[in-house]
């Protein structure tokens, strides 16, 4: 029985380690800085994390299928540029918002189309990364343009009750994502496709359809996050969202989503996004040089990947051996 307990603890530590780390960081920072554990600061961190959470929910599905999308940061930039360009042409909000959301969906479906043909997602979305940002620069000529539309500004800076609009949007997206991943066939099939594609196909799952859908979804969510960021920054810029894809991937991987597909949770992803932003916020409050904050983010990503792959495999393997050593229960 001792082996059983050790196994449980090991698996528990791997599965919920991030939540403990997040808790420990919050406690440590609360002691270190009186400004850390305040409602205002919490809202600030949540608002910073909101666009990351919105995209990372999509990334969780993509990575569940053993894929990846590197183009989301560039999509945010293109959406941001197009929002101000469309308003500049005198188009109304009711046209601009659906138009850029549709653009995000289409760009995602293009990624998905090439991926379901069997091309490596890494290469497909890397090509899309440079294409989308390139178009953003062409359309904007490299300039940032202020946005004055009330609705877009409300999406980025407004409030719904006590919460900022981006936070509410992130919560809504995360709840829907969590329900779809945890309770529907679509979520299960995304995991199955990433876990073992051949098995999923043999069981009659529409593997190509699932891949198209997850990339389409992250495109749509990327466009939504792009609108939110445009409103928050107050301008449309082709330099928006640089390296955003890395932060999204870091949040997702930190949250326990497997880099090789088949395992993913939305709660983990949300915790991962919050963790990165709490670390950054804490370091800022301590007055650490912002460039070191970048270094810290990089190290966290490395640590997350290490936990995600090597450590996770070791512990699972170890738990299996312990299980095998246990006496079998009677018939």
């Amino acid at each position: 029985m001792a082996g059983f307990d050790r196994r449980r603890i090991g698996l528990f530590a791997v599965r919920y380690g991030l939540f403990f780390a997040l808790g420990a960081w919050v406690v440590a920072m609360s002691i270190a800085s009186e400004h850390f554990l305040t409602w205002l600061n919490f809202l600030n961190v949540a608002r910073q994390a909101a666009p990351i959470v919105i995209i990372a929910v999509g990334m969780t599905f993509v990575m569940a299928t053993a894929g990846i999308d590197l183009s989301v940061g560039s999509l945010v930039a293109l959406v941001s540029v197009l929002v101000v360009t469309f308003f500049g042409l005198g188009l109304p909000t009711e046209i601009v918002i659906p138009a850029v959301l549709a653009l995000g969906l289409v760009s995602g479906l293009v990624n998905g189309y090439f991926v379901q043909l069997g091309l490596p997602p890494f290469v497909v979305t890397l090509a899309m990364l440079t294409t989308l940002r390139g178009i953003g620069f062409v359309v904007s000529d490299g300039y940032a343009t202020p946005v004055r539309d009330d609705f877009v500004l409300w999406l980025g800076r407004g409030q719904i009750g006590p919460l900022h609009t981006p936070i509410v949007l992130a919560i809504v997206v995360a709840v829907i994502g969590g329900v779809v991943l945890g309770k529907t066939r679509f979520g299960l099939y995304s995991l199955a496709v990433g876990g073992r594609e051949e098995a999923a196909r043999a069981m009659g799952i529409n593997v190509r359809g699932i891949k198209l859908a997850v990339y389409g979804a992250i495109g749509l969510l990327g466009a939504l996050a792009g609108i939110v960021l445009t409103g928050r920054l107050g301008n449309g810029s082709p330099n928006a969202g640089i390296m955003l894809e890395l932060e999204v991937i870091a949040a997702t991987v930190l949250g326990g989503t497997s880099l090789f597909g088949g395992a993913a949770t939305i709660a983990g992803t949300v915790a991962g996004a919050l963790f990165i932003n709490f670390v950054r916020n804490g370091l800022n409050l301590l007055g650490v040089n912002p460039f070191w904050v970048q270094v810290a983010t990089g190290l966290i990503l490395l640590l997350a990947v290490l936990l995600n792959t090597v450590v996770n495999r070791r512990i699972t393997e170890w738990a299996r051996v312990l299980r095998a050593e246990e006496p079998e229960p009677g018939p």
Binding site: R185, L191, A192, G195, A200, A202, I205, G262, T316
Partner: protein, 275 residues
């Protein structure tokens, strides 16, 4: 004579330049256990994947209860009551035992929640099915990757037999299993037969076939070499057919010209065709 459950007629299949199957015919009755044997690359797995809807044949037809039946996808085959236990099990390691058993056929909740899977009901049924098979498997919530090879085989068999199958195909079900697990698989085949389910077993172990099957069919180079009722043959005769790629009784009937299986078969057909 009763209509066979499944009849495959003149099935051919090539992969590029490789001819995997040439004009293969076979039929199987309800509740019959047929052993499919042959060398590596004889075409056994390909023939069975055609029956389970994974591959479409280049030529030939499949009759189910005497009616032509298209098996274009695995869903078609499963819909027609044909289930397959794949050689590599075709399980998703990260998913639980229950999720794997129900993969592609999840039970859904009712009413407003009709888009949600019914986890409680699936867990309950999966447990029941595994117990019914007399198989010992860890709790049905365990991810498959944390189970042993024999347990994975058990999960694959449970999945193939749970949904009122009429024909269960098992591709090398005893490869890589320990002796006790092999006995379990053989017993499971016997139980299927007694429930009127037809079984096709592919195996390298001739004892599997001798112990469980009613009939053996020998394949070589993508063609049927010969066929025996189990009570009418012995292990060494089957092995001889597998290795030589021809039916010794055909050669004897053809006057012992010793030209091999092709010549013997052609001679037989030629003998009856000319007026």
């Amino acid at each position: 004579m009763t209509v066979p459950l499944i009849e495959m007629r003149n099935i051919s299949k090539s992969f590029g330049a490789v001819v995997a199957l040439r004009q293969v015919s076979l039929s199987i009755a309800a509740g019959e256990v047929v052993g499919l044997v042959g060398d590596n690359a004889a075409g056994k797995s390909t023939l069975m994947k055609i029956l389970s809807g994974v591959y479409t044949p280049d030529a030939g037809e499949i009759m189910l209860d005497g009616r032509a039946q298209a098996l274009a996808t695995p869903m078609d085959a499963r819909g027609a009551g044909i289930e397959m236990v794949y050689q590599d099990f075709a399980l998703v390691p990260e998913l639980s035992v229950t999720q794997n058993i129900f993969l592609g056929r999840e039970l859904l909740q009712g009413g407003l929640r009709s888009k949600f899977v019914d986890k409680a009901k699936m867990r309950e049924r999966a447990t029941h099915w595994i117990e019914r098979l007399g198989l010992r498997v860890p709790p049905v919530d365990t991810p498959v990757r944390a189970t042993s090879g024999g347990q994975q085989q058990a999960v694959a068999i449970a999945r193939a037999t749970a949904f009122d199958a009429r024909l269960v195909i098992m591709d090398e079900p005893t490869a890589n299993l320990a002796a006790a697990a092999i006995e379990k698989v053989r017993a499971a085949i016997g139980r299927l037969r007694s429930h009127g389910v037809a079984v096709i077993v592919i195996s390298h172990r001739i004892e599997d076939i001798l112990e469980t099957a009613d009939r053996a069919i020998v394949l070589k180079h993508g063609a049927v070499v010969g066929e025996r009722r189990i009570e009418d043959t012995r292990g060494d005769e089957l092995v001889h057919m597998i290795v030589a790629g021809r039916d010794p009784r055909d050669a004897a009937a053809g006057g012992g010209d010793g030209d091999g299986a092709g010549a013997a078969a052609d001679g037989g057909a030629g003998g009856s065709a000319p007026p």
